[in-house]
Symmetry: D2
Subunit: 342 residues, 4 copies
């Protein structure tokens, strides 16, 4: 058996740990061969490969990023994309593909398996934790750690200067990072894309916080939107990739708070540092276990399946089940957090 591996979408701490586990178990237990495809679906599309064996993955467990590179190439948007992939798999003697990626990358894998019989196994990957069917994705815990560390640091400035601090964290469509880091960091208000916010209510939290204690910290997901749609972002605030929008909601909100409360407000946009660096032990553990179970799924020829975490168990679910619906923040969990607002 010769297995191709690719990583697609935004980079995410733990990608290398998945591949290391796949290769270690595949080689040592099942005597498989591996080939790495470069830059997500661009690799099989263009036949761009790289060596992937035990020496190649040695020492990669603690390394963020991906040794295979990544891209957002979608073969269904390329001319003859599917047939070119099929030809390249034949050409490189590849019997099966492990695709590690988010909604888009896995969506391609699901269609390739279901519609064209390409033998794919999926491994879910998203910083944002917004894939269905799995309790968590690796990279999320690392992002929450980076964001919480930043919030911890901002408390001292908030204490010393009596100003409002707005922290913009990742999360275009789901507020998991905002919710977890905001709760862990002791934020006084958490704003998420799932629930349009009322600027006046935010200002009330800000003012009540100033009365009770020291200055407030507001955590806002980059995709959060005000209730009445009055937010006017700068033209250049939208980028195709979507992870640094310097003139985004955080900056806008800080200005609104200043205007409405008269308090000084400052914004910090954490940006890419949330997806970089060494994965936390939790993410290394999850990524490693995903890898071990993905190669077992190959052995079981369980094509079209994706590994997922449910409780402390790794299970398999149809890829399509995981990608058909975004996993947004549970309203009950958000309400739990509201006790700390203000």
């Amino acid at each position: 058996m010769r297995v191709g591996v690719l990583t697609g979408g935004g980079d995410c701490p733990g990608l290398n740990a998945v591949m290391r586990a796949v290769v270690r178990k595949g080689v040592q237990r099942y005597d498989y061969d591996f080939v790495g495809f470069r830059d997500g679906w661009r690799g099989p599309l263009e036949g761009d490969t790289t060596q992937l064996d035990i020496p190649a993955v040695r020492g990669t467990l603690p390394r963020g990023g991906t040794i295979l590179g990544s891209s957002r190439t979608n073969p269904f948007k390329e001319e003859n994309g599917v047939s070119r992939i099929q030809e390249n798999l034949v050409k490189h003697d590849v019997d099966a593909l492990i695709a590690i990626g988010g909604e888009d990358t896995l969506g391609v894998a699901a269609r390739l398996t279901d519609e064209f019989g390409v033998r794919c196994i999926g491994v879910p990957k998203t910083i944002d934790n917004d894939l269905s069917a799995t309790d968590y994705t690796f990279g999320f815990d690392t992002a929450v750690n980076v964001a919480t560390d930043a919030i911890d640091r901002l408390h001292t400035t908030a204490e010393s200067h009596m100003r409002v601090l707005v922290v913009e964290v990742m999360g275009r469509h789901a507020g998991w990072i905002a919710l977890h880091s905001g709760l862990a960091g002791g934020a006084n208000c958490i704003l998420i894309p799932e629930r349009r916010f009322d600027v006046d209510e935010v200002c009330r939290y800000v003012e009540s916080r100033f009365k009770a204690s020291y200055a407030p910290i507001v955590v806002v997901a980059e995709g959060a939107m005000p209730k009445d749609g009055e937010m006017v972002l700068k033209d250049d605030s939208h980028d195709s990739f979507g992870h640094v929008r310097l003139s985004g909601v955080g900056e806008w909100l800080a200005k609104e708070i200043e205007k409405r409360t008269g308090k000084e407000a400052r914004t910090t946009v954490l940006g890419h540092i949330q997806r970089g660096g060494t994965p936390t032990p939790f993410d290394r553990w999850l990524a490693t276990r995903f890898g071990l179970h993905a190669i077992d799924a190959v052995r079981d020829q369980d094509w079209g399946k994706m590994v997922a975490l449910q409780g402390t168990k790794i299970v398999r679910v149809p890829i399509s089940e995981a990608t058909s619906k975004l996993k947004t923040v549970d309203p009950e969990m958000y309400e739990e957090a509201e006790v700390f607002f203000g």
Copy 2:
């Protein structure tokens, strides 16, 4: 409603976060009063109380340890222990007790509720993650982070000096910390109390590792034991509390490895630093949610119950269910990890 709170057993990052959540939600949502009992069950036994209100818990979210102090006092081993507790609860107008602790502390709470009608709610606490009925306990992720950070650091010495490094981590009866940190840290062998180890097999891993790459790192839980019982520990290696045994299994194993392989071996015993410091974001999140659900259990008068994590949900289970059986490492998980041995 006036609610007493106590923390028992070894300290654990996240204890303060639980209490902060209990008090914030109890005061703001349910208009309850609180009183803190000092040093675990010694507090209600001797009527030793302290103020526990919103100012008392402010700023404690990131602080390790417990503002209430802790002890291993067991009222069932004290003369008239139960009746003294009952009298003190009456004397301080306490309607319900939230007991945050491990097997022993919760065992007392279960008996007090079941046999004597004392209205108790339990919150599980153990660094070792060995309580049944909950996927994880707070403090465990922090301990795994400290241990993994130490293993990460030791890799550089292992690389540069070609010597065997043995890391002894916490875990008297269960190997969870060893398993998680060993896997996350890329250890070449992990030894746990649940499975007696064969020193010769460990030496084979050590030697195969030297051949394949650089020097090996062996992670051993403090409670791990060799197969044939030949381990002779120093007399003073057993202490009543059980967390620093400088002459324990790690040191013994390093000497055996030196003797049998001729390679130099060194031991690091992490000890108390695994249970200290600020809780990780995961532990703050879990501890906070445990606190929020514990006070809901008080409101629901669901006495004798304990909050627990199952998947991403907080549920309630009978305290006795959680304490009747130790949650040891699942043999399948251990076998997963063995692919990385050697």
Copy 3:
């Protein structure tokens, strides 16, 4: 002897450590009394005081921020500012003042001592490390650590996505944080206020880096300026406090790089997290020693002096010497770093 203490200007990790050392040594060795003035020079100006004794400073060594609060109030810009301060010192029986602050705060102390006979001792404080007469100021090492950690994290994204990453760090007038964190983080180009940069040269570094290895990281101090003055910042990019300018040079530079090289470029603005959180051990050590020597200067009645680090010694220099001239980056040190550009 009764000694007043105040902290002025932006907050800085280590302020509390200075005060703890001042109070511990002052009380235990010299039997002095202390009083804290709130919010920098606003405190003595308005007679706003707070208790400052051993219990008040207990546990503050690892805490960032300042328990006294801070402000940028300048008594020389207030009506009868000096005489109001003199009256309040008499009113509160204050024999001497220890002023902990940067250029502005210390400048006031120098004038009060030299022109009005107020008995002041200075302790230098600046994140930016730009005060003369001292090798380092506390807070700087912490800021460099935060910035370097961020750069370390960005390397993984740079590796995986082949895009230019621009990191904007603190430093309006001096590039010390940029230089130290850029060198420690392995940046491919470092831009500082002391030397106007040539965008085309930056683009050449960017392109040569892409050829040699993976994607480049550019570290730019917030006060760095292009050679030909063509930078047009957004109107709102200037704030009175000066530490978060979301539309500053980093964002501008990323756009220029994209325009001129055709490579995707992203910006991260670290902002306030550089001045928050627990001080590094170096900063705690320096701040503690500054405090110990400041109270010795009070005992020696060495008014108008400031403590300073020279090598490993703490010395005293006239405050005015330290504040008369900004300590900018030594051109030789910058040239040393250039070997790593590109």
Copy 4:
């Protein structure tokens, strides 16, 4: 010019950063060639070399340990050691040697240059910071960070359980790590090799600390000795390498404190984790600058010299000057710290 490089003695974070700087500047500015010698002086002695060029050092800035390996081989203790080295240098066309190491490694370099005309430049390296002529050595700041982080963590256990915690840190002959980490971590007593300690005095500090606040933390350097020489260590406590002595002074002291005060006491021995992991930004900066200046010394043919830090300047001193006398803790600095004892 062809330059050989070697690293000797215990590993130390920053070794790779030195070599990276040496090679980057040597290749790019001076067009030199390099060759790495493996495992300290064993490399030139046995002619064991490895490639050392820009690709070899890429990515090594943040990596602890040494890519060249290390040993404690001393050519003056080997038969015909010097002539074998001279032959191997000729054989590999090596014009000059950069020796990175501590007292022993540099001592060999000094003798080879002074007595045998071998062209050596030295770079000082010691975790312990005990080399003369330089304010600091790289690796020291990292060790102090690891030790301080451990002490910070232990405070929470000390608070919660009212027990004495003894932390044994590195430092066989000099107490710099103990002094810096003890001061930065808020220890209540610091014991160093330079000054024999009085156990009864330590017990007095312990008891006064219990009265004033919570439980005491005692930091003890591994080489500290009691006044009256009554310390009986276990036979196996002495190892040839000297960095893990599990039955050393820390454990002994904890037992004495228990015996004399009746308080429970626990020991943590940090061991090798102090010398592992990524170097701090300060150490990367210092190591990088040492490397840049070492290659300049080669260019200047300034043989027999060692680079050193004095204030913020890198200077050159005769190697023999640095190695002739151990730099022990300045008694004045120790007395400064005593204000925090008890």
